[in-house]
Amino acid sequence: MMSLSAMCLGLFVNPPLSPQYTLWNFLPKNLFEQFRRIANFYFLIIFLVQVIVDTPTSPVTSGLPLFFVITVTAIKQGYEDWLRHRADNEVNKSNVFVVENAKQVRKESEKIKVGDIVEVKADETFPCDLIFLASSSTDGTCYVTTASLDGESNFKTHYAVRDTTVLCTDEAIDTLTATIELCPSCTLSLGPENLLLKGATLKNTKKIYGVAVYTGMETKMALNYQGKSQKRSAVEKSINAFLIVYLCILLGKATVCTTLKYVWQSNPFNDEPWYNEKTKKERETFKVLRMFTDFLSFMVLFNFIIPVSMYVTVEMQKFLGSFFISWDKEMFDEEIQEGALVNTSDLNEELGQVSTGCVCICLDGDVDGSALPARSPCSGIPHAPLGPDREELFLRALCLCHTVQIKEADQVDGLMAHPERKYTYISSSPDEIALVKGAEKYGFTFLGLENNFMKIRNQKNETEMYQLLHVLNFDPVRRRMSVIVRTSTGKLLLFCKGADSSIFPRVQQEEIQQTKVHVDRNAMDGYRTLCVAFKELTEKEYDRIDRQLNEAKMALQDREEKMAKVFDDTEADMHLIGATAVEDRLQEQLAETIEALHAAGMKVWVLTGDKMETAKSTCYACRLFQTSTELLELTARTVGESERKEDRLHELLLEYHKKSWTLSQEYGLIIDGSTLSLILNPSQDSGSSNYKSIFLQICLKCTAVLCCRMAPLQKAQIVRMVKNTKGSPITLSIGDGANDVSMILEAHVGIGIKGKEGRQASRNSDYAVPKFKHLRKLLLAHGHLYYVRIAHLVQYFFYKNLCFILPQFLYQFFCGFSQQPLYDAAYLTMYNICFTSLPILAYSLLEQHISIDTLTSDPQLYMKVSDNAMLQWRPFLYWTFLGAFEGLVFFFGVYFLFQNSSLEDNGKVFGNWTFGTIVFTVLVFTVTLKLALDTRFWTWMNHFVIWGSLAFYVFFSFFWGGVIWPFLKQQRMYFVFAHMLTSVSTWLAIILLIFISLFPEILLIVLKNIKEKNHQVRNKMMYHTPLAPLCPALLPRQSGFWAWQGQQEAWQPACAASPSPLTLGGALHHHILVQLLWEVAAPAQSCRGQQGRCCC
């Protein structure tokens, strides 16, 4: 349990956070933690009772299993903690160089103090938060990648504090005495660009100096680290409920026995017959005390009904079972050479429970470099009469207006390799890369940035140089970015690129019309659109802008606002030169996967930062919405503007609510971020607090919900909202970007896609898969199987302990309620840890009651296990009755057998230990064979373990009874087992009893088989006869399937038709259609999604 935090910490470990134990405190602390668990504590109490009170069984019988369980758990946790220590040491013990007295001193990174001047070399990670003082490059810049922090793998430029830039050697840096705080008069402005955060990595810069400002727990990374709360699975809750039932049974039994004992003993010759006198001590104790100890003794005697080894088995099952997910070859991705990753083994079975909940998928585009940019004449109509010049300008704009960097060959996390090229483009936004590559297709290649000159190779293979003067960075509010460059001829140009809504108001109005049509059409088709505009600046204008920009950058207060204002002023009165469209190509098998999830009864919610049109068409493309789906829109468009918003929203909600109650129609809901915040945080007035519930009701009625323009926090909000609805559905979030992390952490099960946007999502997730399509197998096959396995495991455990203890309970009625154990102590001890533990463990690891292929191909099977179906009270009662039945059969079978004078052919008689041994033998065989009956998937391991356990039991019994053990006080079992086997009647009785016990089970299997066959036959007939349409149960899904296939085909040609000659149109207005891979997932929405949308 505690181990969870370890794994999710990953690289983020920080000394005070992660390891829980040291070598010294491991034992006490771990024991304390373990005994905080109710079950363990219970067994500890039982153990102590056994030590203190005179109980029927020796303390060993419950002490040994408890010791075993505790040891196994301790080893597991110790191992995990060791891993944490190791990860910590990597970070904390790594050496850093600290400049002291003009000399480099080597220090361990955990010993850095605030104020130390630290030297960091290229490709090293910053050991703490630093103020950037100087770098090896004279201009005082350095490049940093924050891939491990937020998943953005591009290089960000950071600037040294201006006054210290020159101090670029050890000696020089030592002369720095002024402290920033003490120098209020010479105020320097420090911004984020001066701060180097712990965890980020220095790139492309030889070395830098920085002064440590925050260390340890105070670093931004540590502060941002969201402690991951422990996720508990529904199964565990069921287990606890069952435990309580069994605890009640236990208490009930003990009470009944104690009461009856004293009723029985009220007869003096029963209490103390002449042949069986009490000891002096017994006679002298008070009656109340005696009753109490009797009660405790019965508790001890029956305590095995609470399966001591269940927890450890469940834990082992989860721990080992998670390997099966990571080993799954089908979930191995060739491209990134990685398979699935399991960060939390505690939730395996929860994967099989997602059915009721929502799959929150964040859609966001991601580019794959291997996808070739295709030029599309989707809008072939020339927009402005500017001729080819305009086209070139457009391409130049694409080449210049971006923040793409060139990375030589060397791989950086999250990059795409270009085998044929010596370099790759890297950028925070895949769209930018797509656009640059698109331009390259048309002959304009961006060659990189050198000394502030951007080099471009144009169509004629000449190199053009542009001096980069300013980059007006992208921000989510403006939703655009600009660059100001000076051409080689001295002209000053400003290129601006951004979302249509932010560009159109800033360009000549007459230019808009035509472009708008194309943009809208492209957006409808699911492309991500951007508009590009430019303007020429005069020297005078530029000077003013330059000055203003510098001023704003230096401003100490309201810097953001000032900057925004300057940007706003600068990016005005531009000329529209064109629009781009980037296609997100859906990740392979995305649609099929979503369809399968749908069929499995899951509600799919798409949470994306994209604009509505794009998201909507994507949803169509991935079949989330079908043509037959009626869409209910709750967006800025339908709700309208300003004041009347709330009323209008209210009306809409009510209307949709009414609509959604008619079941005949499938509904899809679209909602955008602003409307959602209106619903979730309504203004005080209007009695609109019930918006939320109405909204939820609508949502639950809809087959699919699309939420666009979501901020990361909103995503988490939605997940929380769904989580807390009635029936508390199990939610699953899947995403691949840093902005999905909050959502992934919030959901019951968080899945990260090992995307190209860094590892943030996969690191914080419970499971990480390489591709979205793997979700299908993960849920439908693994999830289903794990759920079935663990449910069976839990039920089986309760069952086997019930029929273990029931005969013991019944025996009390025949031994004067004297707490005489039926079984020998060795059997009591070994039953749960040796004789019956391994078969069920093997079963719970390997069982496939339905083959994986069937499971993946028939999503409807998933619904069978939804709602925790196998751990509801009905199956629990079934198992309990089965256990009780078998317990009765065992005991009374042998009881009647013992009515006979002698069971041996030489007339000799058996004693009470033989009685118990016969019951126990029948028990072990029945319980194991029952499991064998349940096993549908036999591997050599199952055979080995099942038959091995039985053989071990027989062997052990011989061995245990074959020797006079000097350490035992009583040789109760001496040759009891061997003698038992010499009796033919015993053999016959054992076989008979095993058969009777299993009889209901066998009968059930036979009946089920008949039913299934019957079913199959009927299905077959339905399928192959003209009657088929009359069988509504089966076909709707099928027909739906075909319907959409048709739709999809229609959709594809629409696209295929587009590649026609660009040259024909001589289009000025180029719509570059870059085909992108859709990685559905995540989304970087705040930082990446929006950037993706606008800045590129």
Binding site: F898, N900, G911, N912
Partner: protein, 280 residues
């Protein structure tokens, strides 16, 4: 086989009454017993499986361990020591050993012919030879070996005087060993004697009148118990056991019935199955 009448007078005997109260019970065998006959005594309402009782023994003492002989286990309380001397064998089980003497006579024309009762071969071989051993020491004189111990409170004689034969005396006395194997249920039987078939021409016990002489020492009335004597023959699968037979017959017939039903169902659906396959 315990009519209460003739022995009623003995109901209130105590352990050490000397001479013992004796009584005779007459009975008639309807059929002759052809093969070896096993003679059991049965007790009812005697909780030999009571926990306090079951654990009240010292197996290492019974195994001939000399130190345990003189210092029995605490489990034997309150039958551990008597007058500061260790009890051998200690414990409640040993103390309450069945000590009635049964003798069987065949009454043939008013002459009572005693029937030979064999008292060896009634205990488990492993018990007699491994688990139970007399203490070891110089010589074979049991009296000397048990020096320093005292007899169980209820016993009339010490343990080394249980039988005249040395290989059936002391801890390895078979009656004693049989008694020490505690019964599973409060109503139980224990093997008392064997009656071997003498020759092939005569049944072991002919039909006719018999009388059983009982030296009544063992009080059961105080706990509402009863005593019985059972004569039984044994087949290859043990004594007469109606349970197994009935159970097998019941289960067998249920299975057969279900088998027929299922066969019928299978037949029915099998037909449908084939007919459905044809369109394929």
């Amino acid at each position: 086989i315990k009519p209460s009448s003739p022995c009623n007078k003995c109901l209130n005997v105590s352990w050490d009454s000397t001479p013992p109260c004796t009584c005779t019970i007459n009975f008639t065998l309807e059929h002759s017993f052809e093969s070896n006959v096993f003679m059991y005594y049965g007790l009812s309402n005697f909780y030999q499986n009571h926990r306090r009782y079951v654990k009240s023994r010292d197996d290492s003492q019974l195994n001939g361990d000399n130190s345990s002989l003189l210092n029995p286990s605490k489990e034997c309380e309150p039958y551990r020591t008597n007058e500061d001397k260790p009890i051998a064998p200690c414990g409640a089980i040993a103390n309450s050993m069945f000590n009635d003497t049964l003798e069987l006579y065949r009454i043939d024309n008013d002459t009572r012919t005693p029937i030979t009762l064999i008292k060896k071969g009634i205990a488990w071989w492993t018990d007699k030879n491994v688990k139970f051993r007399n203490p070891t020491g110089d010589g074979n004189n049991l009296t000397a070996l048990f020096q320093g111990t005292t007899k169980p409170v209820n016993w009339p004689k010490p343990v080394y005087m249980l039988d005249s034969e040395p290989d059936n005396n002391g801890f390895i006395n078979e009656d004693f060993i049989v008694w020490m194997r505690t019964a599973a249920l409060p109503t139980f039987r224990k093997l008392y004697r064997l009656i071997e078939r003498k020759n092939n021409f005569q049944p072991t016990l002919q039909a006719g009148k018999y009388s059983l002489d009982i030296a009544y020492n063992y009080p059961v009335h105080s706990f509402d118990g009863r005593k019985r004597m059972i004569l039984s023959t044994i087949s290859w699968m043990g004594g007469k056991n109606p349970f197994l037979g009935i159970a097998y017959i019941t289960v067998g017939s249920i299975c057969f019935f279900l088998g027929v039903v299922l066969l019928f169902i299978h037949h029915k659906y099998g037909n449908r199955n084939t007919s459905a396959d044809i369109p394929n």
